[in-house]
């Protein structure tokens, strides 16, 4: 067992660090140094910079535009980007529909969609959840009826993250209304400019429009846009769960927020307070445990192992720790926690985005399969309880 990197990997880490240092534009660096809260156009700017270096899709095979990195290098790349507070790229194209197309799509789909995902020319969003299909996703009702070479789609998706910025949406739709639950669902790619599609952004409790509802009113979608087999969309969707990227993101976000907590404690003259120091230390230790568990999962992946039991706990604990980290930041801010953005000059810039993030990040234990659902899964599949 070994926690250190090989000389080759250390060299790669230096390469990544140098790249970030030279290639991140000053206006992004300035934001990275404060709170890493980026606008969509800034995220896409960074997307294009990374794309030029070939690092935008670390997990993709080299022949389809991936950088051909081994698992440890991928980890190093992600970790260094996180540590630098670089803008987090939208995962919907790069980490979700892209891999789905790579695994289940036909050649035409690969040629049509993958290059534009890589270049950032087309932005994607996800259409899974519906008002009555949250934890119980398989009860979704958006239906697609066959009409020759097309499907006619009707229904409503919700939680379509940043759909207002997206060009395309990948959806789970019901193609066989008589099939039971997970059967009869199809994975379908829909151009958001198609007539009949309406995107309505809505505010979260963080006061930001991170999510949208997306309505489909007799939307005609070519049958050619089905990924995988018709009625077999559940298989495609399942393959996308628990992707590497999200895990690293949580570890990075928590680490970043702990650093912010320390800065806030400093600024508020609390950095010698034993009770405060103990709180930060305990959080940091929980973060280390998550990080090391992530290392275990990644080291396993590097050796080609299937994800071990350690990976299934990352979602649960990562989601909780993100919340705990922001909660601690709020505590340390004292009265400053009251300020709702944007109130310039009232609280330090460092603190400006905390309250909003603290609020909407209550979502981390809910989205992507709530912690309760995750526990059901672990109980059944890992502990054999049912």
């Amino acid at each position: 067992m070994d926690l250190s990197f090989s000389p080759e990997h250390l060299a790669f880490r230096d390469e990544v660090r140098a790249f970030i240092l030279t290639e991140m534009p000053p206006h992004l660096r300035a934001k990275a140094e404060v709170d890493a809260h980026f606008e969509h156009h800034e995220v896409m700017e960074w997307h294009r910079i990374l794309h030029r270096r070939g690092w935008v899709a670390p997990l993709w095979p080299a022949e389809l535009g991936g950088p051909g990195l081994d698992a440890t290098s991928r980890f190093i790349l992600s970790e260094e980007l996180e540590l630098a507070n670089a803008p987090a790229l939208s995962p919907f194209g790069l980490a979700m529909v892209g891999p789905a197309i790579i695994q289940y799509g036909d050649d035409a789909q690969k040629q049509r969609f993958l290059p534009k995902i890589l270049s950032g020319e087309e932005v994607w969003c996800q259409g899974y959840s519906e008002p009555n299909a949250g934890s119980d996703l398989a009860s979704l009702r958006t239906r697609a009826e066959r009409d020759g070479d097309h499907f006619i789609v009707n229904g409503q998706k919700t939680w379509t993250t940043y759909a207002q910025h997206a060009d395309w949406i990948f959806c789970l739709v019901r193609t066989d209304p008589n099939a039971k639950k997970q059967s009869g669902i199809t994975f379908l790619l829909i151009d958001l400019k198609t007539p009949g599609v309406t995107v309505r952004p809505f505010l979260t409790i963080g006061g930001t429009p991170a999510f949208s509802e997306t309505f489909f009113d007799n939307v005609r979608v070519p049958v050619a846009n089905v990924v995988g087999a018709i009625d077999a969309g559940w298989t495609v969707a399942k393959a996308l769960l628990g992707h590497e990227r999200t895990l690293i993101a949580a570890v990075g976000a928590i680490g970043r927020t702990i650093r912010t907590c320390k800065q806030i404690a400093d600024a508020h003259d609390l950095d010698q307070d034993p009770v405060v120091l103990a709180k930060i230390a305990r959080l940091e230790i929980r973060h280390r445990a998550l990080q090391m568990t992530n290392y275990r999962a990644l080291a396993g992946a590097q050796l080609g192992h299937a994800p071990g039991p350690e990976s299934s706990i990352l979602k649960i604990r990562g989601a909780e720790l993100v919340q705990q980290a922001y909660e601690l930041a709020m505590e340390l801010m004292g009265h400053d926690a009251l300020a709702w953005f944007p109130e310039e000059g009232i609280v330090p810039e460092l603190e400006a985005g905390i309250a909003s993030a603290f609020c909407y990040l209550r979502a981390t234990t809910i989205y992507g399969g709530s912690n309760e659902i995750q526990k059901n899964i672990i109980a059944k599949h890992l502990l054999g309880l049912s």
């Binding site: 949250g134 934890s135 409790i205 009770v275 004292g334 209550r362 979502a363």
Partner: protein
């Protein structure tokens, strides 16, 4: 030992519950983007109902009721997040009662009771006031009275207050706290309104103002400030109990009706037990909030401080758990701004940040009050 409501108290609760029915959370929601953030008409109604003077002596036009009476009212108002500045005004009013003379009570408290004014306490400074009430604003006696210079942060509802009760140390008197009544319209006073996390308003107040002698409250500022802040904390606890009761009921109702996997989600044992934990926390917080209100009415400052600190810490623990779990059990819809549960959640965050946070009150409790 008695936790029964008196006949008067039952009437207060009934009237407040009636008001709450006519004034749902939607009213507060609508006022979030309003510059005032609360309704002057409702303020008038509250004055007419006798609510503003409920916990104030008859001498200033109040009904001579107790803090427990006020807490019962505030709990009900908390259940619909009524944004009118009752608590913030009462806190400032009690500072005036504790340190001011009859003329000052008549001049500043009586108009509030009648609904013609609202008051705010401007005490917080610096970024580190969590453990430290040390006051850097300073008052210097001169020809025209007192020149006060300084900056006050997060003056709750200070953006609309008719009068501000301002803390300042007396120049040359170490460790002193004196109270002054300052009007926002006086030359040298700037009041910048701020939006707060709970959809309400606070003010950032800058002072370089001369006030006449009769604006100084002559009583000792320290115990008056202490009492006022403890009153605020006790009423924050009462409001928090109202919030917890509401989101608990809301959540239980959701569990009873929301279906997933073909069954009501309230049939899942893990969610049932979570709801029970919310219930337990709500009742525990309610017990200590009640004790705090009773002790604020009492004469024993040590018992008051212990009871208030205990209640405020419990509010933090219970209130946070209950509102967070309310969101969690609502699932995605709980994260949307359009659902009410988030409004309660954010108000609870604010309640935990004001009148001393949990760490402050833990430390004070540990010191024996």
């Amino acid at each position: 030992m008695n936790f029964e409501l008196t006949e008067d108290q039952r009437m207060i609760v009934e009237a407040a519950a009636g008001f709450a029915k006519r004034s749902p959370v939607a009213r507060m929601r609508g006022l979030r983007d309003d510059a005032v953030g609360w309704s002057p008409e409702v303020w008038q109604q509250m004055a007419q109902l006798g609510w503003l003077g409920l916990a104030l002596p008859e001498g200033v036009g109040g009904s001579g009721g107790t803090i427990v009476d006020a807490a019962l009212l505030v709990e009900q108002l908390g259940m619909v997040l009524a944004p009118e500045p009752i608590v913030t005004s009462l806190v400032a009013a009690h500072a005036i009662l504790a340190a001011g003379n009859k003329a000052q009570r008549d001049a500043f408290v009586a108009p509030f009771v009648e609904g013609r004014a609202s008051l705010a306490l401007a005490w917080a400074e610096g970024p580190w006031m969590r453990y430290d009430r040390a006051c850097r604003a300073v008052a210097v006696q001169g020809d025209g009275g007192w020149r006060i210079t300084g900056e006050k942060r997060f003056v709750l509802e200070g953006h609309t207050a008719t009068h501000l009760v301002v803390t300042a140390r007396l120049a040359g008197v170490e460790d002193s706290v004196a109270l002054f009544v300052v009007d926002p319209g006086m030359p040298g006073v700037t009041v910048r309104p701020l939006r707060t996390i709970d959809g309400r308003r606070a003010a950032h107040v800058k002072l370089d103002v001369v006030v006449p002698e009769d604006r100084r409250l002559r009583g000792d500022g320290k115990p008056a400030l202490d009492l006022a802040l403890d009153l605020g904390a006790a009423l924050a606890c009462a409001e928090g109990v109202g919030i917890m009761r509401t989101v608990l009921a809301m959540t239980v109702e959701y569990l009873r009706t929301r279906e997933q996997f073909g069954v009501k989600i309230g049939s899942f044992q893990a969610l049932q037990h979570r709801a029970v934990d919310m219930f337990v926390e709500t009742e525990l917080a309610r017990s200590l909030a009640t004790a705090a209100a009773i002790r604020v009415d009492g004469d024993d400052a040590t018992e008051r401080r212990l009871a208030v600190s205990a209640a405020k810490v419990q509010l933090h623990e219970s209130g946070r758990f209950v509102t967070q779990q309310a969101i969690q059990l609502h699932g995605g819809i709980g994260i949307t701004d359009e659902h009410d549960v988030g409004l309660f959640f954010k108000r609870m965050v604010a309640l935990n940040a004001i009148y001393g946070d949990a760490d402050y009150h833990v430390a004070r409790f540990a010191e024996g009050g």
